[in-house]
Amino acid sequence: MLEIRDLHAKVEGREILRGIDLRVNAGEVHAIMGPNGSGKSTLAQVLAGRDSYQVTAGEVRYEGRDLLTLAPEERAVAGIFLSFQYPVEIPGVGNLYFMRTALNALRLQRGLEAIDAMDFLTLAKEKMKLVEMDPSFVNRSVNEGFSGGEKKRNEILQMAILEPKLAILDETDSGLDIDALRTIAAGVNALRAPDRALLVVTHYQRLLEYIVPDHVHVMVNGRLVASGGKDLALELEKRGYAGFEPQPATPATNATRTAVGARP
């Protein structure tokens, strides 16, 4: 479904991603863990199409297409969804109206009919129950004045409504208490399907108890330096990232490349 090869990206002239290789098949859940500042969000944003992040080398194929040439909205139409680490506040745009506009934009671009306000309300209510979101949030402006946890819930609500094929969750667990975490994980798990995939970015193992990954990767200093099964997350929890200290910026060696076990 998603194939990243030797991806390099710069932000404001500084190289942040320094050769990422990753393959995600339909039906899989991949977790990317790593210390703060290692480039996890940068990878997520590059996949979503943020244009201030400049790809300098490598390629990303999504369902056989060259993902990097697509505009953010085209990626969404193709089924990609990013749950932001820091969701954006948009004063003056009603939350429910925003979500209906988004769903209908996707539907129209996919050649489907728009859904009317009443049917959408029914759908939104059902999905809000799933993520246990207080109905009062729909009448507020998008993310405006939401607490950290409410913003994350709102991201997952959007995901539940838009039903992406590849969902990238960037630190969706941060700012959530344990009950909220369970709810959100249930919302995410409800979306798991053989034709869908998840890329879960986190730096705590906690979330992975609820959204159990097939593969875990460790990102340090812009590279995936180790990969393994779900046990790797537990190991990281115990050991920390100390064993994966940032290395000097040398070209990727074969050794580090083959350590990335997600490739077949």
């Binding site: 979503a48 199409g49 943020r50 244009d51 505009a71 953010p72 909205e73 990626r75 969404a76 139409v77 969804f81 990013l82 932001f84 969701p87 954006v88 506040e89 948009i90 004063p91 003056g92 745009v93 109206y97 925003f98 979500m99 209906r100 506009t101 988004a102 769903l103 209908n104 934009a105 996707l106 129209l108 671009q109 728009a114 402006s141 959007q158 838009l162």
Partner: protein, 444 residues
């Protein structure tokens, strides 16, 4: 005066005989002195602070002729509604500055309310009018108000007796139909709101077809003690039209006035508002929304004069500027000596939608009294890139995302409109305006 100014003045003046007819002699002498004033003082230039942005020189180059009553094509009331909307209350319709009874709808009004054309008020009200009309010209003359006094022959006359409420909005519709010859009209609207009375006035200024015309409109509103007046002005003139308007408001004790201006039309439009808070505890709210695009220039000079203690003023103007458009807010708040406990606040926010769009914002507070509370803020910005990106990651195409954020910027102004049919009309006006953009938004 320059040759162009002279030629312009000759072109728009009418034979004296025309105004003589039924008009009282005080009016004829006022007209004469107003015309002489213009001859002596000429036209404002870029050197006049107050006319820094509204350049009149290009207007003076155009061979304008005075509008005539009856010089128009047949219009039906339905067409008027199509152009100006139906607000449910009485409607006075003017074409090229002259009242057209067949297009108007005068519903029954509370006893004593006077609503009609100014031309008929001249004959019916007699001498009583003398001290009431064109006060701004008489006290502080200025070229275009002087021209309105010198050459204006018709307009709207509204008088609300004390302690009388008019529930439905009074709609004044000023339509212009220029045809091949560029035309000038000088409508005057006067409103006297008696003590404790209430009324809502909506002025719509629009072009019937294209054509070049200049609408030189004056509105004079007097609020007696405790009167409550809401005024709306929708400026939707034809693309190549000029609109120069002046609104003069005087407020008595504890009166409340609120104005909402929505400017979308004309090549060049200036809507100047002056409010004098003449007695204690008067309150004024001035709201404005201007949306220049193409090569439009929309100028919004306002002056609020706190001349008495314990008065409150609130001002909120927002501009959305696209293309090579220019939007101007020039807001003066003057607090006179002795106007203590004045509470004034002024906000101007501008959204630039293109790199060639320009917004000028000039908040000016002139405070000559102690113990006052005055605040002002001004901002010029662009659409938030982060928000745009966020919307796009949800599948909303770029232009639709821009429109959504632009709507969010103007939504606040729409919500301030208290006349529901007018609010939906303005919403519709803005929606079609944004939909004219190259790639239209996605219906939600």
């Amino acid at each position: 005066m320059s040759g162009a100014a002279n030629a312009f003045l000759q072109g728009i003046s009418r034979p004296e005989s025309k105004a003589n007819g039924d008009h009282p002699s005080w009016l004829n002498s006022l007209r004469r002195s107003a015309f002489e004033w213009v001859g002596a003082h000429g036209f404002p230039t870029g050197k006049d602070e107050a006319w820094k942005y509204t350049q009149v020189a290009p207007i003076l180059e155009i061979p304008f002729a005075p509008a005539e009553p009856g010089a128009r094509r047949a219009l039906s009331p339905d067409e008027v509604i199509e152009i100006a909307g139906e607000l449910g209350g009485p409607r006075l319709v003017f074409v090229n500055g002259y009242f057209v009874p067949e297009l108007s709808a005068l519903k029954s009004l509370p006893a004593g309310v006077k609503l009609g054309s100014l031309a008929s008020a001249f004959t019916q009200e007699g001498e009583a009018l003398e001290s009431l009309l064109w006060r701004r010209f008489r006290e502080r003359p200025q070229t275009f108000t002087a021209l309105n006094a010198a050459l204006g022959e018709d307009g709207a006359f509204i008088r609300i007796p004390a302690h009388t409420s008019v529930e439905e909005p009074i709609h004044l519709v000023f339509l212009s139909d220029a045809g091949a010859t560029p035309l000038v009209s000088h409508p005057l609207s006067v409103v006297f709101a008696g003590a404790g009375s209430r009324v809502t006035i909506v002025e719509t200024h629009a072009g019937i077809a294209g054509g070049i015309y200049l609408s030189n409109a004056v509105t004079e509103i007097v609020l007696d003690d405790g009167a409550v007046v809401e005024h709306y002005k929708i400026q939707n003139e034809a693309e190549s039209a000029f609109h120069l308007a002046f609104m003069d408001v005087r407020q008595g004790r504890a009166s409340r006035f609120s104005a909402h201006s929505v400017a979308v039309g004309a090549a060049l439009a200036r809507h100047e508002v002056k409010v004098a808070l003449e007695a204690p505890e008067a309150q004024v709210v001035l709201n404005g929304l201007y949306l220049p695009r193409g090569r439009q220039l929309l100028d919004n000079p306002t002056t609020i004069e706190h001349a008495a203690p314990h008065c409150t003023s609130r001002e909120l103007y927002k501009g959305v500027v696209d293309g090579h458009g220019r939007g101007i807010f020039d807001g003066r708040v003057v607090v006179q000596p002795g106007a203590m406990k004045t509470d004034a606040s002024q906000t101007n926010k501008n959204l630039l939608l293109s790199t060639s769009a320009q917004a000028y914002t000039r908040p000016r507070l002139e405070i000559f009294a102690d113990d006052v509370k005055c605040a002002h803020g001004a901002a010029v910005g662009q659409l938030d890139d982060e928000a745009l990106y966020y919307l796009r990651t949800r599948g909303i195409p770029q232009q639709a995302a821009r429109d959504l954020l632009t709507d969010a910027f103007t939504a606040e102004m729409l919500e301030l409109i208290q006349v529901p049919p007018l609010r939906s009309r303005v919403r519709q006006m803005l929606a079609t305006r944004f939909a004219d953009c190259p790639s239209a938004g996605v219906p939600a």
